[in-house]
C-alpha cells in the first residue's frame, strides 16, 4: 500500500493521540471530554445496547434509501415521458427538499409512530437527489443517439430501456451516493426529534438518552458508530458505482 493511501490513517491516529494526551495531561474529567481509550472501552462494554441501536438506524436508513430509489427513479421516468407531470409535481418535490427535515420531524411524530416517522424523514431527504439527478440524466441523452433510435423506428419504451436509462446511470449513481449519506442524516435527525419526545431505539436516540444521563462517553461511542455507518454506506455505494460504470464511464476510471 502506498504512503499516500496510508496518509489519512496516519493523520487520524495522530489526532487521536493528541486528543488522548490532552485529556490525560490536562486531567479533563470524562463528563467534559472523554479520552478515545475510554470511548473505546464504553463501546465494548455497551456493545449489546449500541449494536442493537445501530441495527435499528441502519435498517431504517437502508429501507429509506431503497424506497427513495424506487420511487425517485419511477417518478423521474414518468417525468421524462410526460413533461406536464414534471411541471405539476416537481415543485412539490422542491418544497419537500428545501423545508428542513428537523422542522418536519416533530409533525410527523404526531401523526405516525416513531419508527414510521423516522423512516419518512430519512426517505424525504434521500428522495430528492435521486429524483433530480435521474431526471437530469434522462433528459441529457445524446441527441445524435436519439436521432439514430428515431431513424430505426424505436418505440418509446425501447428508447427508455436501451438508451435513456443507461445514459442516466452515471447521474443516478451520483444522486444515490448523495442520498446514501442524506438518508442516514435524515434518520438521525428524526431519531433526535423522537428521542426528545421519549420515543425511539436508534443510535441518535441513544445519544439523546445518554445526554440526559450525562453519560458523555456513551454519547461519543454512539457518535463514532454513526460515523462508521456513514463511511460504510459511502464505501458500499462507491463500490456499486465502480462496478456499474468502471468499464465505460470516465468518472469511474483510474487514470494511469
Amino acid at each position: 500500500m502506498s504512503f499516500s493511501r496510508l496518509l489519512p490513517l496516519f493523520v487520524f491516529l495522530v489526532l487521536l493521540g493528541g486528543w488522548e494526551s490532552l485529556v490525560h495531561l490536562q486531567s479533563i474529567p470524562p463528563y467534559v471530554l472523554p479520552a478515545p481509550s475510554l470511548i473505546l472501552t464504553t463501546l465494548r462494554e455497551d456493545w449489546t445496547l449500541l449494536s442493537a441501536s445501530l441495527w435499528v438506524t441502519l435498517r431504517i436508513t437502508a429501507l429509506a434509501l431503497a424506497l427513495a430509489t424506487g420511487i425517485g427513479v419511477a417518478l423521474a421516468i414518468l417525468f421524462a415521458q410526460w413533461t406536464w407531470l414534471e411541471r405539476s409535481f416537481f415543485p412539490i418535490a422542491v418544497i419537500l427538499q428545501v423545508t428542513p427535515i428537523i422542522a418536519i420531524a416533530p409533525l410527523l411524530l404526531i401523526y405516525l409512530d416513531a419508527e414510521t416517522a423516522v423512516l419518512a424523514c430519512a426517505f424525504l431527504v434521500a428522495f430528492f437527489p435521486i429524483l433530480s439527478n435521474t431526471a437530469l440524466g434522462l433528459s441529457s441523452t445524446d441527441h445524435n443517439l436519439r436521432d439514430l433510435f428515431d431513424l430505426y423506428g424505436a418505440s418509446g419504451w425501447q428508447q427508455m430501456r436501451l438508451l435513456r436509462l443507461p445514459s442516466a446511470l452515471p447521474y443516478f449513481l451520483g444522486g444515490l451516493r448523495i442520498a446514501g449519506g442524506l438518508a442516514l442524516i435524515g434518520a438521525i435527525a428524526a431519531e433526535i426529534a423522537a428521542g426528545a419526545s421519549g420515543q425511539g431505539a436508534g443510535l441518535a436516540y441513544r445519544i439523546v438518552e445518554a445526554g440526559y444521563r450525562l453519560n458523555i462517553p456513551r454519547m461519543f461511542a454512539a457518535l463514532a458508530l454513526i460515523s462508521v455507518a456513514g463511511i460504510a454506506i459511502w464505501l458500499v455505494l462507491d463500490f456499486v458505482n465502480r462496478a456499474l460504470l468502471g468499464k465505460w464511464h470516465d468518472s469511474a476510471r483510474q487514470r494511469s
Binding site: 436521432d147 439514430l148 433510435f149
Partner: protein, 247 residues
C-alpha cells in the same frame, strides 16, 4: 432510375434561421453524391430531411418507388459508450426485433467488412477515432441499407485515416451497390469519392452548382494524381469560392 427527389425544398428553424431555400436535388440509384459547402449552409439539414429526422416546411420530397432501408453515419461515431462494439452494431437489428442468434452472422459480416472482426468485444473507449468510425459504419451497414447517408463522418480524423476510410467506403459501395449521399466541407474528399458534387451556398442553403466527376472503374490513390480528379477539385473550389462571395 430515380431513388429520391427533392423539389423546391425550404426549411426555416424555430429561431428564424432560413436553413434551406428552393433546394432541388434528384438522386439516382447507385450514385455517390457529395453535398459540399461551408459550415452552416444547410447540407446536414438536407440530409436530415432525407432521413426523416426533420420536416421540410416548403416543397416536395418523394421516393422513386418506395422508401429504402436507410443507414446513417453521423459526424461523431455516436456509439453507446456502455455497450461493446458487437452490441452497438446489433442495435438496428435489435430495434427491429431480430434475435441475438439471428443477428450474429450479420453483425460478424458487417464488422469484417470494416476490418473490426477482432474487436467485437471491445468497448468504444478502447478504440481509436478511426476504429470508432468504422464501428459506426458497420452499424449503418448491418441492415444492408440501399441508401447510406453520411454527415461529415471523417471530418475529425487525421489525414491518413481519412484517406484509408475513403478507399474502404468506395469498396463497400461497390460491393453492396448502395446509393451514398455524403456531406462534407472538403473539396478533395468530395472529388475523390463522388460521381457528382453538389455545391451549396449559405444563408439560405441552396445548390449553386453541380459538378460531375469522370468515372474510372475503381478509384485508388493514383486517382488523386489524375487529371479528372484535379479538374473536379479546381471546379469545386471555384464554385465554393463563388458561392461564398455571393453569400
Amino acid at each position: 432510375m430515380t431513388l429520391l427527389s427533392l423539389s423546391t425544398i425550404g426549411k426555416t428553424f424555430a429561431n428564424g434561421t432560413r436553413a434551406l431555400d428552393h433546394l432541388d436535388l434528384d438522386i439516382a440509384r447507385g450514385e455517390f453524391v457529395s453535398l459540399l459547402g461551408p459550415s452552416g449552409c444547410g447540407k446536414s439539414t438536407a440530409l436530415r430531411i432525407i432521413a426523416g429526422l426533420e420536416r421540410a416546411d416548403q416543397g416536395k420530397f418523394t421516393w422513386g418507388d418506395s422508401k429504402p432501408d436507410i443507414g446513417f453515419v453521423f459526424q461523431d461515431p455516436t456509439l453507446m459508450p456502455w455497450a461493446n462494439v458487437f452490441d452497438n452494431v446489433f442495435l438496428p437489428l435489435r430495434l427491429k426485433g431480430v434475435s441475438h442468434a439471428q443477428a450474429q452472422p450479420k453483425i460478424e459480416e458487417a464488422l469484417a467488412r470494416v476490418g473490426l472482426a477482432d474487436f467485437a468485444q471491445h468497448m468504444p473507449r478502447e478504440l481509436s477515432g478511426g476504429m470508432k468510425m468504422r464501428a459506426s459504419i458497420a452499424r449503418a451497414l448491418v441492415m444492408q441499407p440501399k441508401l447510406l447517408l453520411m454527415d461529415e463522418p471523417f471530418a475529425a480524423l487525421d489525414e491518413i485515416t481519412r484517406h484509408r476510410l475513403n478507399r474502404d467506403l468506395l469498396n463497400l459501395q461497390a460491393e453492396l451497390g448502395m446509393t451514398v449521399i455524403f456531406v462534407t466541407h472538403s473539396v478533395y474528399e468530395s472529388a475523390f469519392l463522388s460521381s457528382r458534387i453538389c455545391v451549396f451556398a449559405p444563408r439560405p442553403g441552396r445548390i449553386v452548382e453541380t459538378i460531375s466527376v469522370a468515372e474510372p472503374a475503381a478509384r485508388t490513390e493514383a486517382f488523386r494524381l489524375s487529371a479528372p480528379y484535379l479538374e473536379a477539385c479546381a471546379k469545386a473550389s471555384r464554385a465554393l469560392e463563388a458561392a461564398m462571395e455571393g453569400a
